[in-house]
């Protein structure tokens, strides 16, 4: 009985099922944020998650991964992220409901100002002491890991980057290092910096609200919670030897074999559809992929600007619109590539391996 349940959860944790489930849950939570953030519902979710975690600790494989000293912060992060997102959406729900009734947001309730000494200094002092105590207890309880001395000849399997970069390492499943390790991180930084200049919505500043900033909050939370935090969790807990997928209760078997059945777009076109064999030169071979990616990145923005996003473009102006579209389309390449991988076993849209230019 328990074994069957474990098998079911292992199967559900496979990226092809787990990630769409998380994405669906994400959009459901945002859509029904007023109901889901009610204290009783949220408490139920929290208790469910903790129960699942505690009961799972009885499984040796689950415990082995989760209790690794360097993985403990990830559990803490997941709990804190969940709590903070709940706290923000809860206040947004209350504020949105208040503003619908013509009342100001809660933050506006009192316009009085308070002395920094003693009130603010007192809070800062107490929270520093509290975190200091937590950090000390954490340090007494859990030793910092120290493995065998560094050896450039014995690569551990799997070799993992520090946990906060595992989202990027997980991206390597779908993209080559030049995109996953260089271009995307740079775009994350430039995209984050340009947020204040792209968001022209003057409302929702200084208080929690979802209704007034639906689009910006949805995009940001999708990037943070789904493309960053969820991928870190997947990369840490579910990726074992050879970066193969392993369910939470599965033993990390080094000998697990996954068939490599991924093929390039050019192979789908020339071998599977046209049966002509691959052209020798890279340009006719990859022209379809280049056209597709080129269309996605360079033709889609002007087309959308003239059709669906006409009003949006008018508000944003030329520069803002194009900076936004560039970052947004690059960000969406990851989920799009995931879907293509799962549905068509697609390896690369463009595979000019001659110049390491694979997309």
């Amino acid at each position: 009985m328990i074994e069957t349940l474990k098998h079911c959860i292992n199967a559900l944790a496979a990226p092809t099922i787990f990630l769409p489930l998380v994405a669906a849950a994400f959009f459901l939570v945002l859509h029904f944020y007023r109901t889901i953030t009610r204290p009783k519902v949220a408490l139920g979710i929290l208790i469910g998650a903790i129960l699942f975690y505690v009961v799972s600790l009885f499984d040796p494989n689950f415990q082995h991964i989760v209790a690794k000293p360097d993985n403990v912060p990830i559990t803490i992060m997941l709990l804190l992220c969940g709590f903070c997102v709940w706290l923000a959406l809860r206040q947004a729900a209350i504020n949105d409901e208040r503003m619908e009734r013509g009342l100001p947001p809660l933050e506006k309730e009192s316009s009085e100002t308070i002395f920094v000494w003693p009130d603010l200094v007192y809070i800062e002092f107490l929270s520093a002491i509290l975190v200091g105590v937590i950090l000390t207890l954490w340090s007494i309880e859990l030793k910092a890991p120290l493995e065998q001395p560094a050896s450039p000849f014995k690569a551990p399997n799997p070799s993992k980057a520090p946990w906060y970069f595992l989202g990027l390492q997980e991206m390597l499943v779908y993209f080559d290092p030049w995109l996953a390790g260089v271009v995307f991180p740079s775009l994350i930084i430039s995209g984050l910096i340009s947020i204040p200049y792209m968001d022209t919505n003057p409302r929702g500043s200084g208080y929690y609200s979802f209704k007034q900033r639906r689009m910006s909050i949805t995009i940001y939370l999708f990037g943070f919670l789904f493309l960053w935090v969820t991928l870190i969790m997947l990369g840490t807990f579910f990726r074992g030897p050879n970066w193969n997928f392993f369910g939470p209760y599965e033993f990390w078997d080094v000998h697990k074999v996954e068939p490599l059945v991924n093929i390039n777009l050019s192979e789908i076109i020339y071998v599977k559809l046209l049966h002509t064999g691959m052209p020798a030169h890279w340009l006719p071979r990859e022209i379809w992929g280049l056209l597709l990616v080129g269309f996605y990145l360079f033709a889609l923005p002007p087309i959308l600007q003239k059709t669906v996003l006409k009003k949006f473009y008018a508000e944003m102006g030329f520069v803002r619109y194009n900076v936004f579209m560039m970052h947004f389309l690059m960000m969406m390449m990851l989920p799009l590539k995931m879907i293509c991988r799962w549905m068509f076993n697609l390896k690369y849209f463009v595979a000019v391996t001659e110049f390491f230019f694979n997309i």
Binding site: M99, S151, W178
Partner: protein, 272 residues
């Protein structure tokens, strides 16, 4: 009697030269406490009531700064015992674990670093969700993004220093990406375009494993002793100084841009 002693102390020249205000139980003295102290002077003298609520700020920015201080303090203590050289590095860490009874300095440093990464993310989440990056605070959000990057780089460079298997391979995986940097990585797209092929030197590549972006990062073609020293200097000197400078800018800008974000008057539902 007690009052006599108290007055004797607080009326003395020494006391008055250090503390320039009376007991902070009056409005005037409460303002003076903040104004006459260089550290408390980071604050304004008064703040809006809503900003004191933990549910608004989550305290995450302050905690990030607190953890930065903890990391600096424990880091300096660790520097007394750690030598960033291949022969010594691992043994020094081993000695910290084996020879110091009840020692938790390395633990505080490591878990504090992980905690700081988390608090930075959550601080950013809070600032985003309260719309606090909106005008006039756009620039400070950008400073914050750079600080986030520096926090991750601090943590990343520190990860190598224990010089164990966990360290060397995590940094190997992390820095292998630099190999694929467009144009300046030897396995990056476009790197072959930079070859001086026109001069008839096709077989002498301009960008190769011992001069590309990863080489610059690691001080060698793979993670070795040069990397250890390089990451040590980055971790202990360069990035902390850069971060401290930007933290000063960040705090100063919070004050200059009007303090902590507060609701603007225009919170109406009508579309603009």
């Amino acid at each position: 009697m007690w009052d006599k002693i108290k007055n004797y102390v607080t009326d003395s020249q020494v006391w008055k030269s250090v503390i320039r205000h009376g007991y902070p139980d009056t409005r005037r003295n409460r303002v003076l406490v903040v104004l006459t102290n260089v550290f408390l002077h980071l604050h304004p003298t008064k703040v809006p009531a809503h900003s004191l609520k933990l549910s608004y700020t989550w305290c995450m920015g302050g905690l990030t700064f607190f953890l930065f201080l903890v990391e600096t303090l424990t880091g300096v203590l660790l520097m007394f015992y750690y030598r960033p050289v291949g022969e010594y590095a691992y043994n020094d860490i081993l000695a910290l674990r084996e020879h110091v009874p009840l020692g938790i300095m390395r633990e505080i440093h490591r878990w504090g670093a992980h905690a700081m990464v988390i608090t930075v993310w959550l601080h950013m989440l809070r600032v985003f969700l309260t719309g606090s990056y909106k005008p006039p605070r756009e620039f400070n959000w950008g400073v914050g993004v750079i600080l986030l990057t520096l926090t991750l780089l601090l943590s990343f460079t520190g990860y190598l220093l224990p010089w164990d298997q966990l360290a060397i391979w995590a940094i190997t995986v992390g820095s292998n990406m630099a190999r694929a940097t467009p144009f300046v990585g030897h396995e990056g797209p476009g790197s072959k375009l930079l070859n001086p092929g026109l001069l008839g030197m096709e077989d002498i590549p301009l960008i190769h494993a011992t001069d590309d972006a990863r080489f610059v990062l690691l001080g060698g073609p793979f993670v070795g002793e040069a990397t250890l020293l390089r990451f040590y200097v980055l971790h202990c000197v360069f990035i902390p100084l850069a971060a401290a400078t930007l933290i000063a800018v960040h705090f100063w800008r919070v004050r200059k841009d009007g303090g902590i974000s507060s609701p603007t008057d225009d919170f109406s539902q009508k579309p603009l």
